[in-house]
Symmetry: none
Subunit: 221 residues, 4 copies
DNA sequence: CATGAATGAGGTTTCATTCAT
DNA sequence: GATGAATGAAACCTCATTCAT
């Protein structure tokens, strides 16, 4: 985004510098993501991020204006990650039933493989989304998935397999919630119920259950 | 140890002292609950809790050992609140279908009316339940609800209305997740999707949706 | 000191009370001595003293005006202990050589058995004796030992066994110093020299050495 | 690492930075030494150290990790000071009698001119040498003096002037104790005996006395 | 592009002491 | 004589941020 090709040809040394800059920026961003994810916005330490990134603390302020700006950048990066992954699903090319199953499986897997998504969102919600609200890139974060899911539901309804009147946003939130809550609250749930919810068998059972719940809802009975 | 009214007349001074201590403790606890809920464990300020409670900061350390101990006490209080409310539901006296609907409605309502439950749990999960794990009262927090829900599901299955093979803990987590995620992530969801999820109409629609999802799953098709 | 015999006969209940009072006072004093000895004046905690004494913290302020007053009382008690023990030596009845040996042995043993004496004096010297200087009982602390030691030295000189011109105060300070430093600085000495100075054999060697040093000095060569 | 004057001209900025950091560290160390010496470990205040050093309080934590680490650094510095001074004595080049007299005089003078050594050691012993025990530099603190003193004693014994069987560590501790106790306990001794022990005449008398005691012991009679 | 040094504001916790009975 | 509840001042330490090069 920073170095266009034209500039590169104009001044190779500048390119190098900018490439390095991009890499440094990315290094900071990934270190910050890990730290914010581990400790939350308040618990995260600029010092620790610098250590994790292996760079001088002052550099963080060079690339990002403040801790809050850095947090926002991390959030945007995280949203971009999931948006890209969702786009790669191509639900529009699948049969409705397969599409819903695929979305459920993808959501579950993505949350499981990206626990930082969960903690970062929790942090941002604790702060009532005040970072996202100031984000210039907020609209790019809105994935076209809801639209796509709406199309899938409509196709299913027309084919007679899906029930009608399903709000795609409600369904999307439900699919997310069924996966998110289990993973996000794994520690308190495990402590209170004395059951390890994260062993492989428990995880696959959960995915089965979620799929059953969602399909039980969308399929016409 | 708590003075009954009769004893109170015998020794009013002692009663007053006891009452004051209990009341002070409770005042601190409620102020702490509000503050921890607003700002999370790290964001919460002991000074602010003292201000909210209208007491001297030092007193917090007189009743509770440290910020972490206070947080644990708040967590335990919060769990006790929900456990008491769940017990008052008396699902065991209802018809299976009514019981599941009642549980869904109760969960939704409780989370909605007690947003502190959500933020406190998020905080505790960010810290991987390290407070709860040290709690001596942890086992008392495990509500008998799972057992009761299991009975309800079995009754429904025998009556031929419910599907079989439903794990009550999975179902409980699903009901919770369907409600929790919507409320917990309301700020980021609203920001990203540009829809106000908290206006009355949206809320009642959500409850309808959740109920449909859950009933679509448990009812035999 | 508080309850005179007359008062006792006049009001037995008062006697009981005062006897209890004396006991409580003494309990506090001993607990304070232990705590001040362990942690020094600044490190000692009123709360801990109350705990050690098994009494309410407020009582300490009832019997002693403040932490500093309590510390002074402890100091005076400690000095009284050693003064009483010194008086029981009866150096004046011994042959000069025996008397000096006895004083050395006693000093060594007393410091060894009463480590609190050392730490309390160190604390008081850190504070430039500001408590002792305000003590009303300061003059009672001045043991007649210097006078007695002077007599011993004079007797020895006249008998031709001791050298002349020995200042009894200088000698007293030397005897004390030879014992005190070894015990007081045992921890740093052990750490730096890597030798355990407190095992029985080392202790008896030290006493031998001190005795040799002192006798080598006072005996006419 | 310290910039020589030549290097300074090559890169003045780097030199300055380095010099400043070293100087700041040293300034803090000296201020801390004064404060810890005055008030002991517990009585010393980080704020006061910052004031004495004329620097920001936060900086103390930048250079030293905590109050305890700072105290350890001060201790190590103090030990280094005395070790360097002892090494400069060159006892190995003197006649045995002169060497012992020189050591006595040096010890007396050093303790007198460096009262911080005394109070710091007292503090550390109150804490049972817990700082020194964690010191990585502890072994460097062990001066080669004991070895040297042992050589001196052996030379004296061979020459027939010194008695045999003298443990150099015992003698070292005795010399130290004779000087240390007088100075360390000057305040309580003065208060109790009503004699000013610190006026010049008293001080020189003490040195005479100590020398007599030590020589009376080591010299063959 | 990068860094070591420095800072002010504020955080949790501690402590001797007093209040009210 | 005795106690539980309460307090103000101050302690150590942390943190995001800036300075100066």
């Amino acid at each position: 985004m920073l170095a266009t090709t034209e500039q590169a040809s104009a001044d190779p040394s500048a390119t190098l510098r900018t490439r390095d800059a991009d890499r440094t920026r990315q290094t900071i961003l990934r270190a910050a993501m890990a730290e914010f994810s581990d400790k939350g916005l308040h618990g995260a330490r600029i010092d620790t991020i610098a250590e994790r990134a292996g760079i001088n603390k002052r550099l963080i302020y060079y690339y990002f204006e403040s801790k809050d700006e850095l947090f926002l950048a991390v959030l945007e990066e995280t949203y971009a990650d999931i948006r890209d992954a969702e786009a790669a699903l191509h639900l529009d090319t699948m049969a409705p039933t397969d599409a819903v199953r695929a979305l459920v499986a993808f959501t579950w897997q993505h949350y499981h493989e990206h626990p930082e998504f969960i903690t970062l969102l929790n942090s941002e919600n604790l702060h009532r989304a005040r970072h996202l609200q100031r984000s210039g890139r907020i609209h790019q974060l809105n994935s076209p998935l809801i639209q796509t899911l709406g199309d899938v539901l409509e196709r299913g309804r027309r084919a007679g397999t899906f029930r009608g009147g399903v709000d795609p946003l409600q369904l999307y939130i439900s699919i997310a919630g069924l996966a998110y809550f289990y993973l996000s609250n794994q520690y308190t749930l495990s402590a209170v119920f004395g059951r390890n919810l994260m062993q492989p068998k428990a995880l696959s059972e959960r995915l089965s259950h979620i799929t059953d719940v969602v399909m039980g809802y969308v399929l016409r009975s």
